[in-house]
Symmetry: C2
Subunit: 200 residues, 2 copies
Amino acid sequence: MEKKGLLLVLSGPSGAGKGTVCRALLKNEPYLRLSVSATTRTPRPGEVDSVDYFFLDSEVFNKMIKDGDLLEYAKVYNNYYGTPLSFVEKSLKEGRDIILEIDIQGALQVKKKYPEAVLIFIAPPSRFDLKKRLFTRGTDAREVIEKRLRCASGEIKVADRYDYIVVNDQVARAVEQIRSIITAEKSRPHNFKSLLNSFN
Amino acid sequence: MEKKGLLLVLSGPSGAGKGTVCRALLKNEPYLRLSVSATTRTPRPGEVDSVDYFFLDSEVFNKMIKDGDLLEYAKVYNNYYGTPLSFVEKSLKEGRDIILEIDIQGALQVKKKYPEAVLIFIAPPSRFDLKKRLFTRGTDAREVIEKRLRCASGEIKVADRYDYIVVNDQVARAVEQIRSIITAEKSRPHNFKSLLNSFN
């Protein structure tokens, strides 16, 4: 297999709309495969094991950490979340492109372990817009939102460690921009080895 | 000016069709500005000074080399060709995107002097296709074509030092791919400094 798959990491602060962008992208690009995360948290109503998450108990999750079976992991509000390495590696070897929708600390872990990963930071168009989105979600208490907003400001500081920034002003436009990034990344010289060798 | 212009370098072996792709791209993207090269060769019928080339005598050209006024230059068949630095620098500072259509040795010189330059290698789809294109041009003698073909094989070896490779199988498709590369390069974090700072 000449062309190894692309490992695309979509990340950004809470309220930037990375979930919406990711779903819209997957609808447009059926060849993209979404990586399923593992978690120790309890399934929410309607969530399906192996589809939404691999729901694991803490013991199994800790063994995976110890054995290096996770590409990245993080503890969020007493629960663990992580990306099983085996699925990602298998897909990339098959030439399949994989997308990870994870938080910022996870994204930077992936880049460290797998420098070819393409990190895309989904940014809100403005501070005002971010605040509005967090408030109109309506699921969280005011203090939680204020905390998220402070957290987001901190997270945006590391955006310059990403490969690309996509401002989520309109979902369709953001998706187009990500498609262009995918096309560009597939134009990297390492994907053309056999063509280039054929001219010798 | 937050967003500095992009310096795009289109290059590739003779017969790959970089001129055709460049013209088609400029038609599609009117904001792109083509850099005009300087040369010591005699104008061909119909060529206009300051439009097709800056036609200079050897003395002036040599002074520009000595004064460091060229971004790159090369001697081809007893004539000098080069890119005047001043025009490129001025345009980039104004936030204008510049495109250079130059040969391979020139492209690598540009990358050395200006690492932010985006180097795109226009590759022929196959050796057979390259040969066909060189022969059907009909302007050159057989020996000249054979020499160009050997030269092209050597030039293709350095393609892995480029940022991107675009296979010119169809001009319209190649242009689309280059437009995606431009979009991706405009998504680099350094273009979003003031947005990112506004979240503090």
